[in-house]
């Protein structure tokens, strides 16, 4: 008698999803599927709008990582204008991107994942949340909130508001930096770095405790895709695409971002509204790759900042050789990236050119197709627009970081379910591990569905005839 377990909604992620686990007659796992259950249609309703509206429009896909959409959209618009933006504008854009990376990674680690890591996978779900962490680990909770606040404050200082700022515009940014703002931001960074390093040191002591999870949480062989600098170092704003395989061999390198379609194909499945991007030369569904902090650190030769480079070296020691395979170590990579972001923001803000008043290039559209790629906290974000002669959008394609990870997430939940779920004795803690592997990827499903609504979760066990024989429901 085969059965299906449904986990709906998946909690402590950004967006709304369902997981179903299909079991065979003996209760063995046959398949695991991650469903994105909402549809929004951004790619369609943007048609007919002027391209200069795209940064503000596409930013509305998300309240967590709007800056990423703003940057990718503006880069696509820069491409349409065919301009090179002023160097100071690029540096300012980098700072706001790193500030968002800091706040988003802090949200993922402290608010969403730390309850599992600190309170235990099997802890009472009623207290297995940020409030439970506040009770048992008040210092750490305070650090998490403060770190997020620092990131958000820098976004607000530069962009005028924390969410959906409109300061980044096609051609650069709308206003140059003032000395007052620069001083205010520089004042925040030492405290942020201290928190990041303290948390990183603490997490390092926790990692050995999760040896079992690390060996079952999405360890499958996949490729890794990310941007890197021309020198092959960690990059979040520009640079080239690099693809590494599970053995650490560079498969694609120095690929200009506007050639992304040579690497990335998109498939669709009828069980999810999220697209299934894949590495084209390997075909679908074999061309599985991962993006995000894990992929970025696996692909980077170095970070380029002192503390982050030490942390990167320690990151590579998590495994004997090759790229770090376990998706559990996304958490580790996230903490390394927070350190990098804070160090790099400090460096950029101390750059003498940062106060330059020339921060915007002005032009009209000079081509009919624009592609903008940036690294969002969750991975590589691609915006691709086509416009008509009047500058109105005729076609849009958005490939979201979470979408890139879709095939890998499906494989990861299958691996975790096979290792932990005993279909005959369904317990909440088992299913929480299935959810937790999804949290490692820190998916942003509102972006990936381009979705809104509630996020409840139900796990159902179904027999071969599709009858529900057991279920767990979370509201």
């Amino acid at each position: 008698m085969s059965r299906t377990i449904t986990i709906e909604p998946v909690t402590r992620i950004e967006g709304h999803a369902r997981i179903t686990l299909q079991l065979g007659a003996e209760g063995e796992l046959q398949d695991a599927l991650f469903h994105l259950t909402q549809f929004r249609g951004f790619e369609k309703f943007c048609e007919g709008r002027p391209y200069r509206e795209m940064p503000a429009l596409t930013a509305r896909t998300c309240g967590i990582c709007p800056v990423s959409h703003i940057l990718a959209a503006n880069k696509a618009c820069d491409h349409l204008l065919s301009v090179t933006i002023p160097p100071t504008a690029e540096k300012l854009r980098r700072i706001i991107n790193l500030a968002q990376l800091t706040q988003s990674h802090a949200l993922s680690f402290f608010h969403l994942s730390s309850p599992d890591l600190l309170l235990g996978w099997d802890a009472d779900p009623a207290t297995r949340n940020i409030f439970g962490v506040m009770r048992q680990y008040p210092e750490l909770a305070r650090d998490g909130i403060r770190l997020r606040q620092i990131g958000q404050t820098i976004i607000e200082t530069l962009g005028g508001k924390k969410i959906h700022p409109t300061w980044v515009v096609p051609g650069g940014v709308s206003e140059a930096l003032t000395q007052e703002k620069r001083t205010a931001m520089l004042k925040l960074l030492p405290e942020g770095l201290e928190i990041a390093r303290r948390t990183y040191d603490f997490f390092k002591t926790l990692v050995p405790k999760f040896k079992d999870e690390a060996s079952h949480f999405g360890t499958q062989d996949t490729l890794f895709l990310s941007l890197v600098t021309p020198e092959g170092n960690l990059e979040h704003y520009d640079g080239f695409l690099r693809l590494k395989d599970a053995r650490g061999r560079i498969v694609e390198d120095r690929v200009p971002t506007w050639e992304y379609q040579r690497l990335v194909g998109e498939a669709v499945e009828d069980f999810s509204y999220m697209k299934f991007p894949y590495y084209k030369p390997m075909g679908y569904p074999k061309g599985v790759y991962r993006v995000g902090p894990l992929a970025r650190l696996n692909n980077a030769n170095a970070c380029g900042t002192p503390y982050a480079d030490v942390a990167l070296a320690e990151f590579h020691m998590l495994q004997e050789s090759g790229p770090i395979a376990s998706s559990f170590h996304y958490h580790y990579a996230r903490l390394v990236e927070i350190i990098y972001a804070l160090e790099m923001m400090d460096r950029l803000l101390k750059d003498p050119d940062i106060m330059d008043q020339r921060v915007r290039a002005r032009a009209r559209s000079n081509r009919d197709e624009g592609i903008g790629v940036a690294e969002a906290p969750r991975g590589t974000l691609m915006h691709h627009y086509k416009i008509d002669d009047d500058g109105l959008i005729t076609w849009v394609n958005l490939i979201i970081a979470t979408g890139h990870n879709n095939l890998a997430m499906n494989a990861a939940i299958k691996q975790v379910a096979a290792a932990y779920v005993d279909a005959n004795h369904l317990q909440e803690g088992m299913l929480n591990r299935v959810e937790a592997v999804i949290r490692c990827f820190d998916p942003c499903l509102s972006c990936a569905s381009h979705a809104f609504g509630q996020m409840p979760m139900v796990i159902e066990l179904q027999d071969a005839a599709g009858r529900v024989v057991d279920s767990l429901c979370r509201h």
Binding site: G48, R52, A56, L57, H164, T166, S174, D390, G391
Partner: protein, 243 residues
């Protein structure tokens, strides 16, 4: 040289607005008297320097002894009028009017180039519009981005006709006009040709500056960047009328 004719004497009337005793010239409208005396009164289609249209109905006021409401922009003062400009009834009506304007087309403030500088948005804030009670029509309107300098988004047009009037009365080109009926009306350039192909448009941009929303904007502007300057209008209007 003969002396210029002296202007005809104008009668002065006394009236009460919101309990305030005032005097005004008999040829003035209620809204003019209110503006002179710094009595706030909302309007969207009325603009100092243009002819009166009376279309938006936001400036409705109550007149004692009269059952119906009067548009302050198109009603002349008269002796002994007792006017109320901000009663609970008027507030209710004004909010409903603003809500209906939002429901009629697709005003998405957050992504609009006029966000933060929009007269409709300001009126909505003043009227306390925190949500719209009416179902949105969600009719899709096209954009006309064919003009080299400017852009027209019918989704954000409230049909105030300021563009039509300024083009006709101040610029003298009469490029703009209105076609259709009711809520399906649209402002058009020439005979509903793309703006960029208009033979009459001088590209002066007055229509853009007087437009109260993000319907008429400059090309090259991003969200929140379109700030309009209407100071030219009363000056130009006085010069036109002096000719």
């Amino acid at each position: 040289m003969p002396a210029p004719p002296s202007p005809a004497p104008v009668k002065v009337v006394t009236l009460t607005i919101d309990g305030q005793d005032l005097s005004a010239r008999a040829d003035e409208t209620i809204i003019e008297v209110c503006r002179e005396n710094k009595i706030p009164i909302p309007s969207l289609c009325y603009l100092d320097g243009l002819s009166v249209w009376g279309g938006c109905r936001l400036c409705l006021v109550e007149v004692a002894g009269q059952g119906r409401l009067f548009a302050a922009c198109s009603t002349q003062v008269s002796e002994g009028l007792r006017i109320s400009t901000n009663t609970e009834r008027l507030q209710r009506y004004r909010r409903a009017i603003v809500e209906l304007l939002f429901a009629e087309r697709n005003h998405i403030c957050s992504v609009c180039v006029s966000n933060g500088h929009c007269e409709l948005q300001t009126q909505a804030q003043k009227c306390g519009v925190d949500h719209v009670r009416f179902p949105y029509r969600q009719a899709g309107y096209r954009m006309d981005s064919s003009h080299e300098l400017f852009r027209m988004d019918h989704n954000r047009c409230i049909l105030c006709t300021r563009c039509v009037r300024v083009c006709d009365e101040i610029e003298g080109a009469h490029t703009w006009d209105v076609m259709g009926r009711g809520s399906d009306c649209q402002v058009i350039t020439d005979l509903a040709q793309p703006w960029g192909e208009s033979e009459t448009c001088t590209g002066c941009g007055k229509c853009v500056q007087v437009c109260p929303t993000g319907a008429l904007v400059k090309q090259g502007t991003s969200a929140g960047e379109m700030v309009k300057d209407q100071q030219f209008l009363p000056i130009l209007a006085r010069r036109r009328h002096a000719q």
